[in-house]
């Protein structure tokens, strides 16, 4: 049995999904620690999680201010060390604002914040650290809770075809190509708009989200 991989949950001022993400990392066998966004990540960290919430209140474009945080600027170093990055909801917005993932997350269509349970489906692009062992076409149930989740890419759907691991089964926000998540070229940085960390046990509605966390842990232990 390998030691639990150290996971950093980056806490921005106004993050509100940090505790949920921490508990889900823990449940999946990681050794999580909270990490203030004002400091670069420590070298020993194997995976960084950017939680949901309203960083800096999101009174400007969602994720814009948080994308400048020292912890976010240190993420490329983590990826260069074969580490992994997971941005959920506001965390996904921050990854896009910081250019670690391409494209943009615009206001929902129809407009406004929406919360609901929904289903996403893995695509053939669901491969690499976050999706190893999850077959294409697997349906995962989890909640969405956002107002700015409409994924757009300037070059159209073709540009993201191979990097879009999850698609909405019923598009709730107008995202291009029904995209619910996006990977970087290395497959190590994952941004996902609905909340896998809230689908962490059957009692609260679903534990489908655990598959992603378990996959990442197995990958880190394998590459160890």
């Amino acid at each position: 049995m390998n030691a639990a991989p150290p996971a950093a949950v980056i806490v921005f001022p106004g993050s509100n999904g940090d505790r949920d993400l921490f508990e889900t990392f823990e449940r999946a066998g990681f050794a999580p620690a909270y990490h203030l966004s004002s400091e670069p990540l420590e070298p020993g960290v194997r995976v960084a999680g950017l939680p949901g919430g309203f960083s800096y209140g999101d009174y400007w474009r969602a994720g814009m201010l948080a994308s400048q945080a020292p912890a976010v600027r240190s993420l490329p170093d983590l990826v260069a060390r074969d580490g992994l990055v997971l941005g959920i909801c506001n965390g996904f917005q921050i990854l896009v604002e910081s250019d670690l993932l391409p494209g943009a997350l615009a206001g929902n269509a129809p407009p406004g914040f929406r919360h609901r349970w929904l289903e996403v489906e893995t695509t053939p692009a669901a491969a690499g650290p976050w999706f190893s062992g999850i077959a294409a076409g697997t349906v995962l149930r989890m909640p969405m809770a956002h107002g700015e989740g409409r994924y757009l890419h300037p070059d159209g759907p073709g540009a993201i075809a191979g990097r879009m691991p999850l698609r909405y089964r019923a598009n709730p926000n107008g995202s291009m190509a029904d995209a619910a998540a996006l990977l970087d070229e290395s497959g190590r940085i994952l941004g996902v708009m609905p909340h896998p960390e809230r689908a962490s046990e059957p009692d609260i509605g679903s534990d489908d989200g655990m598959a992603l966390f378990r996959s990442a842990r197995a990958w880190l232990e394998g590459s160890g």
Binding site: R19, G52, G57, Y59, F113, H115, P202, D203, I204
Partner: protein, 720 residues
């Protein structure tokens, strides 16, 4: 205007109250002191009209860790955890500026929970508006829902349910009540009682501006036609600041030097300093020059009476004040030492080097003379429903009821609220008869409902209030929860009207009788009076926030019906007129027969349902719209039809749509249904195996046969 007596009158103090101030001080108050009393002796802060009434309510109970007088009532829910919960109104601010009014209502009640040391884990809302599409209703709904969503979603507390009522009697004065609940370890409870001469008084949170000055006094007046000019009395919410402040407060406890804390809500720093001093039997020396300000030129009264949001006042051990300041600054929160605890029992306030106010804390906090309103000897009797023949098309009645704005799918409201952040929500909006949350790392949990039956209370405030309590017991039991305590939000017209005051006394009398019958306490709450507009007084509208304990969250019955399951109906089947939405729709009367109530039967049924958790799979209490609406909703939530038969009756319409107490639909495996029914009968509870789930239609043999699609179209209320 410099004469203090004239200023006092202008700020709403009566000549009798002014005399009591002079008496208590042994001199005339100065202008600043008049402002302090005007805020603290307003109805909102002093309970001068209702204090004697509320004192008659049962306030003690097993497991009650903090009761009325605390920031929020705290109840033991097991495994060392307590739930802190309270309901609060923000009616008048929401009438003027709906988004900010509602947002700060949520922010304020969350701070009450935080002040108790609890981490907020749920919000619910109970709203009353005028008819949709008429007057300002749509504007108010959009603003209020937006404000509740905007604050709670950003703060990161799930909104787990609520109730929205549309009734023209609220058109001129909407009601916006919010309930917040939080979790705290038994040993983590905080107090507001200041103590320790020389200890530091520490201000933490947003800087003070001119918003919301004397908002509490504004809340204690009737709304006038030109009330939109009162925007300066409405506070402005900042959930980002509120969230940072919450994290800073919850990570600062007695080990860090915390002695006492209170949020600065109504009447701002004045209320916090006077109540904290009075609670601890100490005095405070406060220097307003040290208060962090947002704008220049604020005078002493501005600072004392500002209701700027996201602020706390703390008492901190003198030797720990530097580390305390560091703690709050590290969390990005303004903090300053603004005074010291003294042993004088007086709150003495300096500004610009001069003493501007010097008042006994107890006089300000507890000295408001009871208002002594007169109650009318009798209430005008409501006119019963005129006789009418049963409609020929009962399916059409069912569709009309399902499309009623109070009954129709509320997803267009609840979908704007985050219901799952925090990973505790076992059953959220539209998933069960009550919201169910789980304790950390446990199968144990608790459930919350908020009940609101102003239409029934308008007919008979005593019976309507009892009906609310009965519904709370029943709805919680349907979700596998045993009712243990309530918080009450009383919303009412002007107590100066003897009829209105009599209605108020009836509501409180019913609360007392009902709570004693159920054997549970009220843990605190809120009173909002003067809910009147040029259109008249609102119906008496007690909002009952109820807390129940769930032994096993994995066994909670939901709004679920599965093909092939048996369907049981608990409760007596009746066919006599009673107060109901059906009666209103058929006759057009907002009055009608008195509400049917039977708390004994509710209690018996609740006990039985709790004993049957695990065998019962789905449960839905009958409520507004009667048994047919409840069964239709159960079918629509699952997309599965049902075929049931009910006993022959002279008036099938009243059987289907009448609102009677202690009725519940439940589902169970076919091989267990008969035994459950027999068990109920043995416990003295009428119960029948009414039919079977399945198919795409809702059929009540001989009376109703409707395809689910038609019912779904009605239930959508015409919204996409």
């Amino acid at each position: 205007m410099t004469d203090p007596a004239a200023v006092a009158a202008d700020l709403g103090l009566t000549p009798r109250e002014y005399a009591a101030i002079c008496d208590g001080l042994g001199r005339a108050p100065n202008r600043v002191e008049v402002g302090i009393f005007a805020g603290m002796w307003s109805e909102h802060s002093s309970y001068k009209s209702t204090g004697r009434l509320l004192a008659t309510l049962p306030r003690d109970g097993e497991g009650l860790l903090a009761g009325p007088g605390s920031h929020a009532g705290c109840v033991d829910v097991g495994e060392g955890w307590a739930v802190a919960f309270k309901v609060e109104s923000h009616n008048h601010p929401s009438a003027v500026e709906p988004y900010q009014g509602a947002a700060t209502g949520v922010g304020g009640i969350l701070r009450d929970v935080v002040a108790q040391g609890a981490r907020p884990c749920a919000v619910m809302d109970s709203l009353c508006f005028g008819e949709p599409g008429e007057g300002r209703t749509d504007f108010l709904v959009d603003g209020v829902v937006g404000g509740i969503a905007g604050y709670g979603n950003s703060y990161g507390v799930p909104n787990v349910g609520g109730r929205t009522v549309f009734d023209r009697r609220y058109a001129g004065n909407p009601l916006v009540n919010a309930l917040a609940a939080g979790l705290v370890r038994h040993d983590g409870l905080r107090t507001a009682a200041a103590r320790g001469t020389g200890n530091a008084v520490l201000y933490a949170g947003a800087r003070t501006g001119r918003d919301g000055i004397l908002g509490a006094a504004f809340a204690s007046e009737e709304l006038e036609a030109e009330h939109t000019a009162r925007r300066s009395h409405v506070q402005v919410g900042d959930p980002f600041a509120g969230k940072k402040l919450m994290e800073a407060m919850l990570s600062f406890g007695p080990d860090d030097g915390l002695v006492a804390c209170q949020d600065m809500g109504a009447v701002g720093i004045t209320c916090a300093m006077c109540e904290m001093a009075a609670a601890g039997g100490v005095g405070l020396e406060i220097d307003l020059d040290l208060v962090p300000l947002r704008e220049p030129g604020m005078d002493a009264s501005d600072i004392l009476l500002s209701e700027s949001q996201e602020r706390f006042l703390l008492v901190v051990e003198a030797e720990r004040e530097e580390s305390a300041l560091d703690h709050f600054r590290r969390h990005g929160v303004h903090a300053a030492v603004v005074g010291r605890v003294s042993d004088t029992g007086r709150v003495r306030v300096r500004h610009g080097g001069e003493v501007v106010a010097d008042v006994p804390a107890a006089l300000v906090a507890d000295g408001a003379p009871p208002a002594g309103w007169k109650a009318a000897d009798v209430l005008p009797a409501a006119a019963p429903y005129p006789p009418f023949s049963p409609p020929s098309d009962l399916g059409a009645v069912l569709r009309t009821l399902l499309a009623d704005p109070d009954i129709a799918d509320a997803g267009w409201i609840t979908g704007r609220y985050d219901a799952t952040v925090g990973n505790r929500t076992v059953r959220g909006p539209g998933e069960a008869e009550a919201a169910v949350l789980k304790l950390p790392g446990s199968r144990r949990g608790f459930a919350l409902v908020i009940e609101n039956r102003g239409d029934a209370c308008a007919v008979d405030p005593y019976l309507g209030t009892l009906a609310c309590l009965g519904a709370a017991r029943r709805d919680l039991a349907c979700a596998g929860a045993d009712l243990v305590a309530i918080t009450d939000g009383i919303n009412h017209g002007s107590p100066g009207d003897p009829v209105e005051f009599r209605r108020l006394t009836e509501v409180v009398r019913a609360l007392g009788d009902g709570l004693r019958r159920l054997g549970i306490p009220v843990t605190g709450g809120n009173v909002s009076l003067y809910n009147e507009s040029p259109l008249g007084a609102i119906p008496p509208t007690p909002m009952i926030g109820a807390l129940g304990i769930v032994d096993d969250v994995t066994a909670v019955p939901g709004w679920r019906i599965t093909d092939g399951e048996s369907i049981l109906l608990f409760g007596e089947v009746r066919d006599v007129p009673a107060h109901s939405r059906y009666g209103h729709i058929v006759t057009g009367s907002l009055e009608g027969h008195p509400p049917a109530v039977d708390l004994e039967a509710e209690d018996r049924l609740a006990r039985f349902l709790l004993g049957a958790v695990g065998r019962i799979r789905g449960a839905k209490a009958t409520g507004t719209g009667g048994p047919a609406v409840a069964l239709a909703k159960l079918c629509l939530h699952s997309g599965v039809g049902a075929r049931v038969s009910l006993p022959a009756a002279g008036r099938p319409d009243w059987v289907l749509f009448g609102e009677y107490p202690a009725q519940v639909w439940a589902t169970a495996p076919p091989d267990e249904a008969a035994a459950i029914a027999a068990g109920a009968a043995a416990a003295g509870i009428p119960c029948r195996v009414a039919g079977t789930a399945g198919g795409g239609r809702l059929v009540v043999e001989g009376w109703l046969d409707e395809p689910l699609e038609a019912l779904a179209a009605a239930f959508s209320g015409g919204r996409p």
